[in-house]
Symmetry: C2
Subunit: 333 residues, 2 copies
C-alpha cells in the first residue's frame, strides 16, 4: 500500500517478479479489493504463488514514526514485517515511510548477534554499467561510533560477497581527505580496527568525489553523511536532466538536440537513475527488509523486490552472523 | 606558488584581475624570478599596482599541516597570510594546501569577536544561471556543535547580504529530513535558536537533493557533511561529463553528436563546474582568506581573486562583527 502510487505500482511489480523468479512466492499485504482488482490479468500459474493478506489500515506518514507503533499495529507495513518475524516470509519490501519501516523492523526483529545497530545500505551507480558500490549507513542512524562503523564495514563486505559475488570486496571509509589524521575520532578508530582485520579488504579513506570512481566496492559512513551523500547525488542528476531538457527545447539547435538528447537521457537514466538502483536495504536485523523509494515506478519497485529475492537466496543475514562470530575474540582458557 | 600549476596560473589571473578592478592592488608572494618572467607582457599601468614579495620557500603538501607552522614560516603561503595580519593587504588568495592555509589563518589571525570557530564557505551552483547558494562549513571543521552552526548561519547570511546584495537571505540547515525531530541534537538545537533570531530568515531543514533547488540562499552544516556534499556533487558532474564524452565519441552518432555535445558541455561547465564558482573562503577570521582549488586554471583563479576583492570591498568581516555584536544579550543593569 506504500509509496506514492500504492498497489498500482507494487502489484504489477510483484507479478513481474513472480514471472522472473520461478521459486519466488509473494504475499501482498493490504487492501484486498484494491489488490485483487489489479490481479485480474495475472496468469493462473503466477497466482498460485501469490497470497493476499488483507488489512484496511495503512501506515500513514506520521509526524513521528513512533506513532506507527502506537496507532498502526494493523497497518500493512507492520503486518508485513510481522510476517518476517514469524518466519512466514523471508523478506519484506515496502515503499512506505522509511522511519516507520525502520522502527517496525527494530521493534519486531532482533539484531544479528554481534551487530550493535542496523543500517540502511544502498547502491551507488557507477560509470561502468553493471558495476556498483554499496554505501552504508544511508540513514538508519544520525551518528555512529567506531564500533558501529566497523560493523557496517563487515556487513557491507558480506553483502557484496554474497549478493554480487565479489570475492574480496574493497572497503573504504568516507572521509574528508586521504591522510591518516583526517576525520572524526570515530572514523580514525574504525580505520585502525579495519586495518587489523584480515577478514576485510580495507583500502583506506575515500572522498566524496571518488564515490563513483569504482575504487571501492563498499563505502562506509555514518547515517547522516550517507543520507546527504545519496540525496545530493540525486539532486545533481536532476539539475543536469533539467539542463539537457532545456537544451533539447532551445530554439537554435532544438530539433537536432532533441534527437541527440534522447540517448543521453537514456544513458543518464541507466547509469544514475535511482530507479535502476532502487531498494535500499535494512541490514543488521535477523530478517530482510528492503525499502523502495516512495516515488518508485513499477520498474523501480521490481528492482527492490529483486534485491530482496537475492538477499534472501544468498542468505545475507546468516552470513553476517557467521562473519561476526568468526571475528569474536577467542575467550581465554 | 600554490596549486597544481603555480605562477603560470596565478600570475596571469592576477594580471586579469588588475585589468578588471581599477582600484585593486596585488602583491605576488613567491619566487621572484619565476613571477617576473610571467610579468613581461603586463602593461606599465597594471605593473604600477603590482608588487612582488620574494621568497624561495613554498609550503609543500605535508603529511600533517602542523608542520607548516614548524617548518615553513618563510613559505609564500605563510608570508601572504602574515601580510593580512599586518594590515598590509586586505585579503589573501591561495591555491595551496587547504589544511596548511587554514592553520596559518588560525595561527596568525584572530577570530571575529563572537565567533567560536572559522568555517570554509563555498558556493553551490544552481540551475538558474547567475544564481547561487552558499554552503558552510565545507571543511574547516570535522564536527560542529549547535553554537557553531548558529554562528555559521549568521556568517553565511551576512556574506550573502554583503557580497550578493540579497536583502534577506533565506537560511536553511542541512538535515536528513524536513521534520522537526530529524537530525542530530546539535542541528535541532541550532534550529531552535535560529527560529528565535529575527536577524536571520531561517526557513528550516533542507535535504541533500534540494541543495540545487534555489530554496535557500545559505545552507548550514558541519564541516564533514559540507565537505562530502560538495565533493560528491563534483564527482557526479565528472561522471556525467564522461558519459557525454562517451556519447560524443560513439560510432553511430559520433560526428553529429560531437557537434551537438559541445553546447551541452559548455552549459554543464557554466552551471556546475567548480571553476565558475571557485574560491571557498575562510570565514570568521579578522581578515579575508580565499582558497582556490589546487587544480584551478587561470579562469578559476581569477574568480577566486574576484571573490576576495568583493569580500574586501564589501567589508564582510566587519559586518559579521557588527551582526554578532547586535545579537549579544543586553547586560542586566
Amino acid at each position: 500500500m506504500g509509496g506514492d502510487f500504492g498497489p498500482s505500482v507494487t502489484v504489477p511489480a510483484a507479478i513481474r517478479a513472480l514471472a522472473t523468479y520461478q521459486d519466488l512466492s509473494v504475499v501482498l499485504v493490504g487492501d484486498e479489493s484494491q489488490i485483487k482488482a489489479l490481479l485480474q490479468h495475472a496468469g493462473t500459474a503466477l497466482r498460485a504463488r501469490l497470497d493476499v493478506l488483507h488489512t484496511s489500515v495503512t501506515a500513514h506518514h506520521e509526524s513521528k514514526p513512533e506513532s506507527v507503533l502506537r496507532n498502526s499495529r494493523e497497518s500493512s507495513m507492520f503486518l508485513a514485517v510481522t510476517l518476517v518475524k514469524e518466519g512466514r516470509v523471508d523478506a519484506c519490501v515496502s515503499a512506505g515511510d522509511t522511519g516507520a519501516l525502520l522502527l517496525s523492523g527494530r521493534h519486531l526483529l532482533k539484531n544479528i548477534p554481534g551487530i550493535s545497530k542496523p543500517a540502511m545500505i544502498a547502491s551507488v551507480p557507477l560509470h561502468r554499467v553493471e558495476s556498483k558500490a554499496y554505501i552504508l549507513d544511508v540513514g538508519a542512524n544520525v551518528s555512529n561510533d567506531a564500533t558501529e562503523l566497523f560493523e557496517f564495514a563487515i556487513m557491507g563486505s558480506v553483502q557484496a560477497e554474497a549478493v554480487d559475488r565479489i570475492s574480496r570486496p574493497r572497503v573504504a571509509l568516507l572521509n574528508v581527505g586521504q591522510e591518516e589524521h583526517k576525520g572524526t575520532p570515530a572514523i580514525r578508530e574504525a580505520a585502525e580496527r579495519l586495518a587489523q582485520t584480515p577478514a576485510v579488504d580495507y583500502i583506506g579513506y575515500i572522498e566524496g568525489n571518488e564515490l563513483f570512481s569504482g575504487k571501492a566496492d563498499v563505502i562506509v559512513c555514518d547515517g547522516f553523511s550517507g543520507n546527504i551523500t545519496i540525496k545530493t547525488s540525486a539532486g545533481v542528476v536532476r539539475v543536469i536532466e533539467q539542463l539537457l531538457k532545456a537544451v533539447a527545447q532551445g530554439g537554435l539547435l532544438s530539433r537536432l538536440s532533441t534527437f541527440l538528447a534522447a540517448p543521453l537521457l537514456r544513458l543518464l537514466r541507466r547509469e544514475i537513475d535511482p530507479a535502476q538502483f532502487n531498494g535500499a536495504s535494512v541490514i543488521g536485523l535477523q530478517g530482510i527488509i528492503v525499502k523502495s523509494h516512495g516515488h518508485a515506478d513499477t520498474d523501480a519497485f521490481y528492482h527492490a523486490i529483486s534485491q530482496a529475492y537475492r538477499e534472501s537466496s544468498d542468505r545475507v543475514p546468516e552470513k553476517i552472523a557467521a562473519r561476526m562470530a568468526s571475528l569474536l575474540p577467542i575467550p581465554a582458557a
